[in-house]
């Protein structure tokens, strides 16, 4: 047997004398070593590629996390606030509703100033100069005035009393305390005098580091110590809600129609090519379309999650349609035939067999589409979702911004504290992505089990 094969090979291949001496088994054995080597090389290349990718992810997450950590805590300072009614220019004899009304518009800045200056005087400088006063005042957040106002409004009986109240420090002081700059370092935004004052406050144990709750409960602000992501997070959730609500049903319906119902002709060919092309269109183009058609022609509100959702739907639809079509195509035709052979109508075949079988694949497509939409910034810039918005949006027609745009805005801000905020916002975005993906994976495995 071996001999005859051998003869055959040598007979019509080469006249080389060497070959005639080797049997087939020997030839195979010779080539085997090379083949195994190739296999090993291939496996190692693949493994190192995976390792490299994994390493990059670890470095990325590690870097972002370390940079983000300072954003999660913030320094507060204890003030002894003297709520003198003549500083506030309110009538101390009033009470109840009228007092509250007066307190709302009272001059708390004067109370703040007069309460904090005494902390910085000593024997050598019994009275602060104008310049010193200004730089002392700058140590505190511009929000401190409202913190002490709210405290008094909550407890009006403290009028004409001195109480200890915790207020936020200014972001420059906060950064100084967090990062422990040597004095005179570039990036340091407080002067020597201020540094001494901060040291004094620390000595008196008036400074405390607390968990930064306002990062999660506040909306955007020009002051880093006040800026939070709640507005952007809500904007993202609302926008994603609209996107999911529109793109998933539309995409699946489109894919089902094209795969199961549409006649195969030139028109459907053209549609298919165009869907594939749409998937490759730069996303900012969809933003332009949204601006020109949805806002200017249809008159929907600018900066609204509704419009953002529609624009992102346009962007994710091709992805979902392509993935869904692939999943639908992968449903074995035998299942369709079985149902058809029993007398199921096209609709019944599609809904009770094709769709459930294709669902895991469709969900995967949906995840990719939504993840893409979640990180999209460019098209939203065009429709005004880049605006500085201080209110937390509550409906899809409110003005809003989204997390990636918020990250972009913060990354663009000059204040040092925004550096940590940017990283923290990225962490929140990644967490959101992880939550969405996990949900989808759980959903998919549930469908696969069926």
């Amino acid at each position: 047997m071996t001999n005859s094969i051998d003869k055959n090979i040598t007979g019509n291949a080469t006249p080389a004398k060497l070959q005639t001496k080797l049997s087939t088994t020997e030839k195979v054995a010779l080539s085997l070593k090379k083949r195994h080597q190739k296999e090993r090389r291939f496996r190692n290349t693949g493994f190192s590629a995976v390792l490299f990718g994994f390493m990059l992810v670890v470095i990325l997450i590690g870097d972002i996390t370390t940079k983000a950590l300072p954003a999660f805590h913030q320094h507060w300072v204890k003030l002894d606030v003297n709520y003198q009614s003549d500083w506030l220019s309110v009538d101390a004899n009033l009470s109840g509703y009228e007092l509250t009304q007066q307190l709302k518009t009272a001059n708390f800045r004067k109370v703040l100033r007069n309460s904090l200056y005494p902390m910085f005087v000593n024997e050598q400088t019994p009275k602060l100069s104008r310049k010193d006063k200004r730089s002392a005042f700058k140590l505190f957040s511009s929000n401190a005035e409202f913190t002490i106002r709210d405290a008094l409004l909550a407890a009006p009986e403290d009028l004409n009393e001195t109480v200890s109240i915790w207020v936020r420090l200014d972001d420059d002081v906060d950064s100084y305390l967090k990062e422990g700059f040597a004095f005179g370092t570039a990036g340091l935004r407080i002067d020597e005098q201020q540094a001494q004052w901060v040291a004094k406050l620390e000595q008196e144990q008036r400074i405390e580091s607390r968990f930064n709750t306002s990062f999660f409960t506040a909306s955007d602000s020009r002051e880093p110590e006040l800026a939070g992501i709640k507005g952007a997070l809500m904007g993202t959730l609302l926008t994603m809600f609209v996107t999911l609500l529109l793109s998933f049903p539309l995409g699946v319906a489109g894919a089902l129609y094209l795969e199961e119902f549409a006649p195969k002709n030139r028109l459907t060919d053209i549609i298919e090519i165009n869907i594939n092309n749409l998937a490759a269109v730069p996303s900012i183009v969809f933003g332009l379309l949204g601006l020109a058609v949805i806002i200017n022609l249809f008159g929907l509100p600018r900066s609204a999650p509704l419009v953002g959702g529609i624009v992102l739907t346009l962007m994710t639809l091709p992805t979902i349609i392509i993935a869904s079509r692939a999943a639908i195509k992968a449903v074995p035709p035998s299942i369709r035939e079985a149902a058809l052979g029993l007398g199921a109508s096209k609709m019944q075949v599609t809904l009770s067999h094709v769709l459930p079988q294709a669902m895991p694949g469709i969900i995967t497509g949906g995840i990719i589409g939504i993840a893409q939409a979640l990180g999209e910034t460019a098209p939203l810039l065009m429709i005004g979702m880049v605006a500085f918005i201080v209110d937390v949006p509550t409906s899809i027609a409110d003005s809003a911004t989204v997390l990636p745009v918020q990250i972009f805005l913060w990354a663009d801000s000059p204040e040092r504290a925004f550096l940590a905020k940017t990283s923290a916002a990225i962490l929140v975005l990644l967490t959101l992505l992880l939550v969405i993906n996990t949900t989808a994976t759980v959903l998919r495995s549930k469908f696969e089990k069926k």
Partner: protein
């Protein structure tokens, strides 16, 4: 009648003008006259006429690619799903033209069921597999009646005793032979009049095949059956009538014992005696 010269190559294109044997049945459930099937430009079935006798088994045999499966699929309009497929001729079920414009293929397929070559249970439970047809056709809204349909169908398919304790298990978890009997149970749950079987045992081992063949023999009491098979022994065992197809043409048809003992046509003889195919 035998006006055909057999050349050296038995698979070469043969000029066939007429079918030999007897295509007529005394009590025809389906009668097909001058059926032609085209896939685009290519003609797959040439002018086939035959009857399917009521409550009997008709076997369609022939070499691969001779069009017997195509022909079978025309009988419940499964070829409608193929865009380029075109069918001419007269195909009658009882006295109705199954390709009539006003006939709904969904209704036709409820009357003419089909069992496929590869067992193809739905990825659902055994119960749901059998109940599916009854559900989609709205045969019953009653849970007890549905249970009854499922049980009798499984019993008729000879599967009930094997699966009665695990009706909620997935149908895809059964063995190949059991899956095929599940598919048969699923088909008869709709109470069709005709059952078309496209090589129902070709993916099964001899024991499972024997069970299926026995089942076919029992089923013919209630149903008219057409079966495509590659196994001549199987055709001889289960069928009363045999039709031999060759290159898209019906060469010979007649009683099974006649075809297998003294075929009239040279091509049939060559095929049956195993000279080709």
């Amino acid at each position: 009648m035998n006006n055909i010269e057999i050349t050296q190559d038995p698979l070469a294109q043969v000029e066939l003008t007429e079918t030999v044997g007897n295509i007529y049945a005394d009590d025809a459930k389906m009668s097909i006259r001058n059926a032609n099937v085209y896939y685009g430009e290519k003609q797959a079935i040439h002018d086939v006429s035959l009857d399917l006798a009521k409550n009997q088994v008709t076997a369609l045999i022939g070499p691969s690619g001779c069009g017997k499966s195509t022909f079978l699929r025309c009988l419940n309009r499964m070829n409608d799903t193929i865009d380029i497929c075109r069918i001419t001729g007269q195909l009658m079920l009882d006295d109705e033209d199954i390709y009539a414009k006003n006939l709904d293929p969904v209704l036709l397929r409820a009357r003419v069921g089909m069992v496929f070559q590869k067992p193809n249970p739905f990825p659902k439970s055994i119960y749901d597999n059998v109940a599916y047809g009854a559900r989609i056709h709205g045969l019953t809204n009653n849970k007890a009646e549905l249970d009854e349909i499922v049980e009798t169908s499984l019993q008729k398919a000879g599967l009930f005793n094997e699966v009665k304790d695990r009706l909620k298990d997935p149908g895809t978890g059964l063995s190949g032979g059991q899956q095929q009997r599940l598919c048969i149970a699923r088909t008869i749950a709709v109470s069709p009049e005709v059952i078309l079987m496209d090589e129902p045992a070709s993916a099964l081992d001899p024991i499972a095949t024997a069970i299926i063949e026995e089942l076919i023999d029992e089923l013919k009491e209630k149903y008219t059956i057409a079966i495509v098979t590659h196994s001549m022994q199987q055709a001889a065992r289960v069928s009363q009538h045999t039709a031999y197809f060759h290159m898209g043409k019906l060469v010979e048809m007649g009683k099974t014992e006649d075809i297998f003992t003294h075929p009239s046509h040279k091509l049939t003889e060559n095929y049956i005696t195993g000279r080709f195919g």
